[in-house]
Symmetry: C2
Subunit: 432 residues, 2 copies
């Protein structure tokens, strides 16, 4: 690098598990980063809540500040990395950074899923980049492929395992036969689940990521509140065993589909065939499966969380954003919106797996089949197993609307011959 | 788009299975492409060998030309898509296009693996982009993630299944127990293998891709002739069964590793554990597994060939290159080279699986173990199975240099107590 040439100055907001790894990589990879950016990349400051808090990386004391608002407004800051998380003050800081001419890299899924358009418009107005690869599926490059590599193709469907905690729990249930509570406790002991696991277990985290994936895949605006959401707290060992019986495995999926011009975006547990590429995603790993018209089926797999993996994604964005900043150009932005309707869950087409304990007498199967047929639901397979005085019926339906399917289950629950509907779960993923 | 604004004019060289799909997508996706590029994208011309040849897409007759050299030299061509393949005339046409100020997108793995640096220098000198996502693993976005998403990380290892034909054959052998010849014939019947399957079966195709992957992953220059190469023609049903016995599967792998400052680049069949993400890559699919310091383990999966998938990758590149062309900027180029030594195969550290038919008498195991030890090779596991008058020993070694391992096998072959060394294969991939 020639002396006196341009230097890229980076402010990092937050120095927790991700922020500290970003600061570490900025220091350790300084030479490589300079070569790839085309100019030295310098740390301008690190905003923290308390100067004297313990942290995983050594920051030169002069660079630490508790005045995040002051840091992003500084003239000598070219690039802001936001890894505080949450809605405020992250949103105000990002907006201020853009207004002051900085480009921004963020890992903030909650903010993007709640109020992405406000941020994108601010970036557009400022003529700056706002990149957020780290917000979905940690280190896995998925936003860039969706936005850039598939820019000449038409994505029709995205199926993602985007929450490592729930995948760890479901994988444990599948491999050991354990129940949900026991598996959650193991995840907590191993540090895969938090003491309050609500955000993960109830699907809130996955729903935020689903909103971001749907927005990018279909060039439209989807917020977290548009996403239909069911968590995994009600998944039982019996559900998991039922899935195994039909050669499937239970996963918490984030699903975004294009149906004509509307999108359907949802997060719920579903059975997928073991031969499907997503079925082999074990433990706390994440993966995103993409179907597009020309490319066909693609999958992106990797660690979905953790300080270092997330920091890797932040640095990848940082290199591109820094190059654009130097060149005075912008990357592919979010400008090309075609606002699409979001389909209500009731109108979304899906398939159900239903296990029913019934009286073991003649005509039961016909009666149950009639209930499906009355709601316009076609049955793909039905299996009947005698169990002494009662019997179990396992029905897998063809595609129907979620409203038709749930009405069918409602009717089954009220039928005299039905002792109990023991398992209801959606089925996704053709047997590849 | 405002009338009279800029228009991006694209010349397509070649109209075979990929070229015809590129032309089709340019026409069908015109509106989406214009929105994403920021200007209309128009077909300026399509260079073909014969105007009246049958083709899969309708091209307005005025746009067809047999004068490819004249087409790339035209002033009104902004962007050249090269999908002819092979070394010449592709190289001269790309160089001429760059000299005349066009940016280039190519799917030409053979040319890039043989003479990439010449092309990269020409692009650098012309201040234009040269993108080639489609050259490796078809539709799978792998070059862009390596070059951009992981730009702030340090890649240490790439393991790829980058040839669909050989993966189809090996998968068939694994699932049916059939031999190589029979499986190759089935692949040929189904159109997965060509009448002359040499380029695929002998690993030439995978070696070209390995060279490109290694160059990008380690920011160095590796050509196809630097790549150690073994094909799959000698893989037997017994090898595949031996792999199954140790919970593994045989795959043709393209491997690029960073060892200190040298790189090791090789293509050969290897046993990998069934729990490894690459083991679940079936049929003609491709996948690239990447290990990096911060991100950890990533995998990219999808169709590795075919007209439409390859065209999807070409169009993805085209959108980025077109945006850069309009902005007068360039994407992340190949500028940051650190020329690294390529390690000879003999010095590459690897592991061997060796199956040996031996006389069933006392002391045989000790004698065989001694042969390994004399060459400095440590044994990880050994399994002995009686088979009437003789016995089989199956040895899996710890890591040693390939020279030490092959010398050990050489010595075993000459030993009196050894009837036959029935299977020798490298072992890759930790049990994940």
């Amino acid at each position: 690098m020639s002396e006196g040439g341009p230097v890229l100055r980076v402010a990092v907001l937050g120095c927790g598990s991700v922020g500290s790894q970003v600061v570490r990589l900025l220091q350790e990879q300084a030479e490589d980063l300079a070569a790839r950016v085309g100019a030295p990349v310098e740390l301008a400051g690190v905003a923290v809540r308390r100067i004297d808090a313990p942290r995983e990386v050594e920051v030169p004391p002069g660079l630490l500040t508790t005045d995040a608002a002051g840091l992003v407004a500084r003239d000598d800051v070219d690039l802001v990395v936001e890894v505080i998380g949450g809605i405020e003050p992250a949103r105000s800081l990002i907006l201020s950074a853009l207004e002051h001419g900085a480009s921004v890299v963020t890992a903030n899924k909650a903010l993007l899923a709640e109020d992405g358009p406000t941020l994108f418009e601010a970036a557009e107005k400022a003529g700056r980049d706002l990149y957020y690869e780290a917000a979905v599926a940690g280190a896995i490059p998925i936003l860039r492929p969706l936005r850039e590599s598939l820019a000449g193709d038409r994505v029709t469907r995205v199926l993602g395992i985007v929450n490592g905690t729930t995948n760890f729990i479901l994988d444990k249930m599948d491999s050991t036969g354990a129940g949900f509570t026991e598996s959650l406790e193991e995840a907590q002991e191993l540090g895969y689940a938090e003491a309050d696991p609500t955000a993960d277990v109830e699907g809130f985290d996955a729903a935020a990521k689903a909103a971001i994936l749907a927005s990018l895949a279909f060039h439209t605006r989807v917020t977290a509140s548009d996403v239909y959401r069911e968590g995994i707290a009600d998944v039982t060992a019996a559900d998991v065993a039922s899935a195994a019986d039909i050669g499937s495995v239970v996963k918490l999926l984030a699903i975004a589909e294009l149906n004509d011009d509307a999108v359907s975006v949802r997060v719920h547990p579903a059975m997928i065939p073991r031969s499907h590429p997503l079925a082999s995603v074990r433990e706390a790993y994440n993966a995103v499966f993409v179907e597009s018209q020309a490319a066909g089926q693609l999958m992106f797999y990797g660690p979905g969380a953790g300080g270092a993996p997330t920091a890797s994604a932040v640095l990848g964005d940082l290199v591109t954003v820094a190059r654009n900043h130097l060149a005075g150009s912008r990357g592919v932005g979010e400008s090309a919106y075609a606002q699409r309707a979001v389909l209500p869950m009731g109108e979304t087409r899906t398939r159900y797996h239903v296990a029913i304990d019934v009286d073991d007498r003649a005509g039961v199967l016909a009666t149950v089949a009639m209930a499906f047929s009355e709601h316009g639901v076609s049955i793909q397979t039905v299996r009947q197993e005698g169990r002494g005085a009662d019997a179990q019926l396992v029905v897998v339906s063809h595609e129907a609307t979620d409203a038709q399917l749930s009405a069918t289950v409602e009717q089954l629950r009220g039928m005299e011959i039905v002792r109990e509907v023991t398992s209801v779960m959606r089925v996704e993923g053709r047997d590849e």
